[in-house]
């Protein structure tokens, strides 16, 4: 009599397949992408770790509700084309999201595999499929019948691009206004090449433009057309996704010395204007040998890692401790591998310059942590008599951004938060004006690419409903 063997339980590897990366010593000398992407074999192996849950938890953590378990199923069956189509039903920028989303705080937090080991590397798999598509040619999705409705979208960043893609697929006529000379918003001016290659941003934008979106570059809404003028000229709805572009400064003496950059100026010069290729490219950037980056978010990490690539020794100055660093853990790790030195619990008091007006040192004060403040993080408290001086020849201030006020100033009746400058919206992105919606950093203050995309998506749905119910 044959014995009935007990069905073997599928064994799941506790460790995720590691992402191949450029070695720290090599990558710190170039601007090429650090993470190289999975091979087919690695992608299949990682995909096999997915449990294909009946009630997947991962998707609950995704701001744009990508059908994660479904796309991983396609990948496992090597149906790559089908996999990317599945992702693109919800996410028009998968090559971007696969690279810069903080998956460890979103979909991967709720992944069931995470209870027994490392969660499935959802972002890396998403990236694999997006890159596969780029190599094998894009497919055009089906579009709904034209509705005859015209919509204006302000800002070709993550929120605006997402809203544009969703609305054009629903059959609306979409015009996308972008103030800069290149589309992509923070994806093109902010996030560095080594984290998000600009060719990939261009590809993603081209995909959206090819869906039929009319992209108008160098056209700042509020200057050429105001929102009321757009509405009068035949646009039935407007989505504002103009981002948080205004840099914040410390407000300490000496901040206008030479060699002190806002993170925005530094990143715009390096990313948008390609100053690292000066003088082949026309925009210069003068960087000294000892760069101090002030701040602790992802933007600060981007500035620090870019500076190291430009040959500087970099020190990060953060007023709280390592635990409170708002940057992604992965970014901090990458930066430290590349040689970043962190100085915690200190803040600048003033900058001193040389006879030519260039920064030469900064006076700082040590901090200790008190009870948590409104942000939930422990508040830094200055320690009396702890002043010290640091030598530096370049300072990058990466302490946050606020929205550009031009639209709020030129749109009567549009309610904004008087203190933060953000446009006030309800949960669907609707503003105080009929037919006008907003989302992304202009509504939330500086946040992440994916949260902006999530709001672009929600607002697109609300705009569609608004237009289709409008008599």
């Amino acid at each position: 009599m044959a014995e009935t063997k007990p069905k073997p339980k599928p064994k799941i590897k506790k460790e995720a397949v590691e992402m191949p990366k450029q070695a720290p010593k090599v990558r710190v000398k170039n601007f090429n992408e650090v993470a190289l992407g999975y091979s087919e074999e690695q992608a299949l192996e990682e995909a096999s770790r997915c449990l294909q849950c009946v009630k997947p938890q991962c998707v609950t953590g995704c701001p744009v509700e990508v059908p994660i378990s479904e796309f991983i199923k396609c990948l496992r069956e090597k149906k790559y084309a089908e996999g990317i189509v599945t992702i693109k039903t919800k996410n028009a920028l998968p090559a971007v999201c696969g690279r810069v989303c903080p998956q460890e705080e979103q979909c991967q937090v709720t992944c069931v595999v995470g209870r027994i080991g490392e969660p499935v590397s959802i972002g890396r798999l998403e990236r694999y499929l997006a890159d596969w598509e780029r190599e094998h040619g894009f497919q055009k999705p089906e579009k709904a019948k034209p509705t005859g409705k015209k919509i204006a979208i302000v800002g070709a960043g993550p929120a605006g691009l997402t809203a544009a893609a969703d609305l054009v697929k629903l059959g609306h006529e979409v015009t996308l206004f972008e103030a800069l000379h290149l589309p992509g918003g923070v994806l093109i001016y902010g996030i560095p090449e080594f984290r998000l290659p600009k060719a990939i941003v261009r590809n993603e934008v081209n995909y959206i433009v090819n869906l039929g979106v009319d992209l108008r570059l160098g056209n700042q809404v509020g200057r050429i057309h105001t929102i009321p003028e757009l509405m009068k000229s035949g646009y039935e709805a407007v989505f504002i996704g103009s981002g948080a572009g205004l840099p914040m400064f410390l407000g300490v003496p000496g901040e206008n010395l030479g060699g002190i950059y806002s993170a925005n100026e530094f990143l715009i010069r390096v990313n948008l204007m390609k100053a690292y290729n000066f003088p082949d490219y026309d925009t210069p950037l003068r960087l000294g040998k000892h760069v101090v980056v002030i701040g602790g978010g992802n933007v600060a990490m981007d500035c620090a890692r870019s500076s190291m690539r430009l040959g500087a020794e970099v020190c990060l100055l953060y007023r709280r401790s390592r635990e409170e660093l708002p940057a992604r853990h992965e970014e901090i790790e990458n930066a430290e591998e590349e040689g970043l030195v962190c100085k915690f619990l200190a803040a600048p008091l003033r900058f001193n310059g040389d006879e030519k007006g260039w920064v030469k040192s900064m006076e700082c004060r040590a901090m200790e942590l008190g009870p948590p403040d409104a942000s939930g993080r422990r508040r830094p408290i200055p320690i009396k008599g702890s002043e010290f001086t640091m030598e530096t020849d370049t300072v990058i201030i990466a302490i946050g951004q606020t929205p550009n006020p031009i639209i709020q100033r030129t749109t009567e009746g549009l309610e904004a938060n008087p203190k933060r400058g953000t446009i006030i919206v309800d949960e669907n992105g609707k503003t105080s004006l009929d037919g006008v919606y907003a989302g992304g950093d202009v509504a939330t203050g500086a946040a992440t690419v994916i949260s902006a995309m999530g709001m672009g998506k929600k607002a697109a749905k609300a705009i569609h409903e608004y237009l289709m119910n409008k008599k």
């Binding site: 103030a179 800069l180 000379h181 572009g245 806002s262 026309d282 030519k356």
Partner: protein, 281 residues
């Protein structure tokens, strides 16, 4: 794409360009500026609007051929195209009926100044204009300004034409009562004018041209100190109260990238960019 409608020389190394830009022409007002980008590797360069024709759909500006981009711009011919022209940026000038206005324009900024003079006259002001340049050969728009203004004074740094230096303004200020002064030109000139009008209590508006990268408030490189507060030249300006501006800091900040700008321009010429052939080895 923006077509060059006309390009002409105003003075040695100072050119005037008229560009097809109907959307900007429809909206721009005196005091505003545009940002130009020449090609995929180009920098973003701010230029003050010096004229516009809403019917033709054109804007005009003047520029000094000092850096790589402005030299490249100067080589363009009628019918050539410029890829990106963004604007109108900055706040328009406050044009009201002030009464008796003194306008002081220097160097390349005489060009946008003529637009101010015109607008101020149209608003019913009496306008006395003073224009100046380093030397006689660099002066332009004398006839145009004479026509537009109620009175015109001319000065040069070396005295080769008209008054020598700005000293004569003091006499004018002592003999005539002005309600407002508008100064556009090199920082040192605007500083001097502001210092001269201050004892007379004449509100003095200066147009600042700090370094800019995006021109829309994003980078903050154009930050200046006005009345002890940080302001951005692009979105808070470009016009400010001349009695409150920290001009010395502005001069310093304008020179931040000078070595790089020179290098860029030199390399371009060495590689035959200017097409004069002089430096071609």
């Amino acid at each position: 794409m923006h077509k060059v409608v006309a390009i002409e020389e105003l003075a040695p190394k100072i050119k005037w360009m008229e560009l097809q830009a109907s959307e900007i022409a429809a909206k721009c007002r005196p005091g505003q500026f545009v940002m130009l980008v020449l090609g995929a590797k180009g920098e973003r360069v701010p230029l003050t609007i010096a004229g516009f024709d809403r019917k033709k759909g054109t804007i005009s500006f003047a520029f000094n051929e000092v850096g790589k981009t402005t030299k490249q711009l100067g080589l363009l011919k009628q019918g050539d195209n410029i890829e990106n022209v963004l604007g109108p940026l900055g706040n328009p000038s406050e044009i009201g009926k002030f009464g008796n206005v003194l306008c002081v324009g220097g160097g390349v900024m005489i060009a946008p100044m003529h637009l101010q003079v015109q607008a101020l006259r149209e608003a019913g002001n009496k306008v006395t204009t003073a224009i100046g340049a380093r030397i006689k050969d660099l002066l332009f728009f004398e006839d145009k300004m004479k026509q537009l203004s109620n009175k015109l004074y001319v000065a040069t740094d070396d005295g080769s034409q008209g008054y020598q230096g700005l000293g004569f303004l003091k006499e004018i200020l002592e003999t005539e009562k002005f309600d407002r002064c508008v100064a556009m030109g090199p920082v040192v000139m605007m500083k001097q004018v502001s210092e001269m009008t201050k004892p007379f209590g004449i509100p003095t508006i200066v147009t600042l041209t700090p370094i800019m990268v995006d021109g829309m408030g994003m980078c903050g490189v154009c930050r200046i100190t006005v009345a002890g507060k940080m302001k951005f030249g692009c979105i808070d300006g470009p016009e400010f109260d001349g009695h409150q501006v920290d001009f010395d800091e502005l001069v310093q900040r304008q020179r931040l990238m000078l070595p790089e700008e020179r290098l860029s321009s030199m390399l371009w010429e060495m590689h035959g960019g200017c097409k004069c052939g002089r430096n071609k080895a």
